[in-house]
């Protein structure tokens, strides 16, 4: 039995990013890059991710939390500092995680879910306007196109991380080192470029 009367109060200064997308879009890797960059900078970090059946084209979210001492791996509603969306409908679906002073960083990517493919449901074509009207500071870009220009459309999520990176105290060198360490060797160059283009995009706004 151990007595922890002087336990550091956790949770207070914890910051959070929610990553939302569709199974197969690579949100787990993106969350892992972000989490490791934050660790490299010295934060306590916790993440949460989805495996298994839900991945077969279903909605998926990953969460990354950081601070001095992080308790819950799950982000409470209304407390995320940023919502990183790799698909617009999924971005819209997860807005309730976002804090009033948070912002959306999303790709203008549309992946139709089965009810839309089947013609029984409408895709919310005004998703982008709805997001901007609620969180005017949000940044929505065509991430796969930007990534393609930087070398490989599959590095789309890394463009979004580049945009997000300006809001975090993690240095560019720390980011690039993490990309080099965690991304498959043949994809490092494309992801590096995608990250830098994203960061530049954010700087110019």
């Amino acid at each position: 039995m151990s007595d922890q009367s002087d336990t550091v109060e956790s949770g207070k200064a914890t910051r959070s990013v929610v990553l939302a997308g569709v199974g197969g879009q690579g949100t787990i890797l993106a969350a892992n890059l972000l989490a490791n960059a934050l660790v490299a900078h010295g934060y306590d970090v916790k993440t949460s991710e989805v495996h298994g059946m839900a991945q077969r084209g279903g909605s998926v979210i990953s969460m990354v939390r950081f601070g001095d001492v992080v308790a819950s791996p799950l982000v409470p509603m209304g407390e995320a500092d940023a919502l990183l969306g790799t698909e617009l409908l999924e971005t819209l679906r997860n807005l309730e995680f976002l804090a009033a002073q948070g912002k959306v960083i999303a790709s203008r990517t549309r992946v139709d879910p089965l009810p839309v493919l089947q013609g029984t449901s409408e895709y919310p074509t005004d998703a982008e306007e709805r997001i901007i009207s609620l969180w005017p500071d949000s940044i929505i870009v065509d991430a796969p196109a930007i990534a393609a220009e930087a070398g490989d459309a599959r590095a789309a999520n890394t463009v979004l991380l580049g945009i997000l990176s300006l809001a975090l105290p993690v240095g560019v060198d720390e980011w690039l080192a993490v990309i080099e360490k965690l991304v498959k060797a043949k994809a490092v160059e494309a992801n590096r470029n995608a990250f830098l283009v994203g960061r530049e995009l954010s700087e110019n706004r």
Binding site: M1, S2, D3, Q4, S5, T7, E9, S10, G11, K12, T14, V22, G23, N32, A35, N36, V39, V45, K46, T47, S48, E49, V50, H51, G52, M53, A54, R56, G57, G58, S59, A71, S72, P73, L74, P76, M77, G78, L89, E90, L92, R93, L95, E96, L98, A99, A100, D112, P113, L114, V116, L117, Q118, G119, S121, E122, Y123, P124, R130, L134
Partner: protein, 592 residues
């Protein structure tokens, strides 16, 4: 300070097993536990294997322990149902090398058919149980579990949950141990459970339980945190993390060892407080013990008994405690109303699609099973009638077919055929627990049809090998179970193989075998498209020939999209399987 690395709970368990000197590990893949064995198997100097099922895995691990080395079995919650037979007698015979069962519950059923609370398995089998709340504890408690196992001569349950398994947090590893092999010594009175021997062993287990409760009272990982106020929260596992944020600064008794429950510690610490709360996921497991101590805890009167916990629902469970601790609830208006749902679906080119479509059109009762193909239950395929657990398709089909016959009077012979039964299961599920069912079908003269969807892998959990792939976990060639020969050797004469991309073949073979007055097996064989990444020329719809009938939409392929009345094929998503082209009655769907 040693390097701290981000690890999932599963990785932490694997690395702790390595550092504890575990040499043998076995598992059957199952979300959320799968990566424990995958990560462990990649380490130097250890042996790991995929077993056909969890019972086999645990029994092999028992053998390895008796062989004198530390060993590990990993499984999801329902896996322990399969392994329950060895689970309950293993504590009677005890261990030689330390033995830990890493068992992962899935509150919220992210990827499971139920959300049973496996803590009761530890209690029912008199097995000590440890519950980590993050990856560091997953590491530390795994190390502790091996010491405890050898000290008390018992298996130990490491009880994980999805949010421990699949959350990453920082882990600092401790110095590795290299335990010596425990020399083999024959001891049949301890290890052969004939009734006379078992009667000697059971009292020892009961005595041991009392010793272990003392251990639980003194265990260094049981934490007390003194805060302000008259309330204390008793919690364990990941729920502890939610309590920390939901009720900041509250006094906490955080348990890491939850069987035996530390009744002395609970009484001693909690008597200092006027209000005792229990926050735990799923069943009131701890609450029952706390209540038995006369502490009148508030638990499941507020905390949900179903689904997963989080900071929000823990805070909402006890508003008075949230108020007393100054807990803050930010506003979070929902924007989900009216949004289309996004259920998981069979991939474009999935080999299950063709055969399940052909099957759905046969108007049979389809007894289904557990795997990606269960997704075919969703409309428009709607190709499952019932499903319970791994392998049950074959045996439920047997009972269904017999029942249909029993219902049938002599004079109603013509009704047969409207109640035909087909069982459907995947290759990995078949090897897991479908084989004995097939024996039942043959031995007890079933006359239905079993369809085995042989996609050459365990797809749902991430492409693990199994006895039918010809590869071991290490990717080395091994023998391949021949399903055709196996079925024939069981006494089933009618065994056919079809290509699920060939709808006409699927339909005609299904119809022939279903109408046969004998048991039959159809093997639908084609490798998982997601794993093989095979792509042929994509198909396209000719506008001249298409009359917008929408028939092709019934196969529920994510490469087909209907806008207004017009259906088009998304060339990027199409893998060229050609199933939609075979469904079309106007030959409007062609390559290119």
């Amino acid at each position: 300070m040693a390097e701290r690395k981000l690890m999932t709970g599963n990785e932490a368990v694997a690395m702790a097993a390595l550092d504890a000197g575990v040499l043998f590990a076995s598992a059957y893949p199952g979300t959320p536990s799968t990566e424990i064995l995958e990560v462990f198997s990649r380490q130097e100097g250890v042996y790991a294997e995929w077993a056909p099922n969890e019972k086999v895995a645990l029994e092999a691990v028992v053998g390895a322990s008796l062989g004198g080395v530390r060993s590990l079995a990993a499984m999801k919650h329902v896996g322990l149902n399969v392994a329950a037979d060895p689970w309950f007698t293993l504590p009677y015979i005890g261990v030689s090398g330390g033995l830990v069962v890493a068992n992962a519950d899935d509150p919220g059923m992210h990827s499971s058919q139920n959300e049973q609370d496996n803590r009761y398995y530890a209690k029912a089998a008199k097995v000590p149980m440890l519950e980590p709340s993050d990856s560091q504890e997953a590491y530390d408690l795994t190390r502790e579990a091996y010491r405890m196992s050898e000290r008390y001569d018992t298996p130990v349950m490491l009880r994980l949950t999805t949010r421990v398994c699949h959350s990453r947090s920082l882990v600092e590893r401790a110095a590795p141990e290299r335990p010596a092999r425990v020399p083999y010594a024959k001891d049949e009175v301890k290890r052969v459970m004939i009734p006379g021997h078992a009667r000697l062993r059971h009292p020892i287990m009961v005595e041991r339980l009392a010793e272990m409760e003392e251990h639980s009272n003194e265990f260094s990982f049981q934490r007390t945190e003194r805060g302000a106020g008259d309330a204390v929260v008793i919690t364990a596992g990941v729920a502890y993390q939610y309590v920390k944020e939901a009720f900041p600064g509250v006094s906490i008794l955080k348990l890491a060892m939850t069987n035996p429950m530390p009744r002395g510690l609970i009484s001693e610490f909690c008597e200092q407080f006027s209000d005792v709360y229990v926050v735990e996921e799923l069943e009131p497991y701890m609450e029952e013990t706390v209540a038995s101590l006369g502490l009148y805890p508030k638990g499941k009167s507020g905390v949900p008994r179903v689904g997963e916990l989080n900071v929000d629902n823990v805070r909402d469970a006890f508003p008075e405690l949230a108020k007393a601790t100054g807990s803050y609830t930010p506003s979070h208006p929902s924007h989900v109303e009216g949004l289309p749902a996004r259920p998981p679906i069979l991939c474009a080119g999935c080999p299950h699609r063709g055969i399940m479509y052909a099957l759905a059109r046969q108007k049979a009762i389809i007894a289904g099973d557990i795997g990606c193909y269960t997704l075919s239950v969703l409309p428009p395929l709607s190709a499952h009638d019932c499903q319970v657990c791994m392998g049950a398709s074959v045996t439920m089909g047997h009972g269904l077919e017999k029942a249909m016959e029993l219902e049938l009077g002599e004079s109603e012979e013509e009704e047969r055929g409207t109640h035909m039964v087909v069982s459907v299961l995947g290759d990995s599920t078949f090897f897991h627990s479908g084989v004995t069912g097939l024996m039942e079908m043959a031995y007890n003269r079933g006359r239905y049809t079993v369809v085995i969807l042989d996609n050459r892998t365990t797809a749902m959990t991430g492409f693990q090998d199994h006895p039918g792939t010809g590869m071991t976990l290490q990717g080395e060639p091994t023998v391949t179970v021949d399903i055709e020969m196996l079925a024939r050797s069981l006494g089933i004469e009618n065994v056919r193989v079809v290509d699920p991309y060939d709808l006409e073949q699927c339909s005609s073979v299904l119809s022939e075998e279903m109408n046969r007055d004998a048991p039959s097996v159809i093997i639908s064989r084609r490798a998982c498209v997601l794993r093989e990444k095979t792509r042929r020329e994509p198909y396209a719809i000719s506008r001249e020939e298409c009359n917008d009938c929408g028939l092709c939409m019934r196969i529920a392929c994510p490469a087909l999209v209907k806008r207004g009345e017009e259906v088009t094929i998304l060339a990027d998503a199409c893998t060229g399987c050609g199933v939609c082209a075979q469904v079309c009655r106007r030959e409007a769907i062609k390559v290119g």
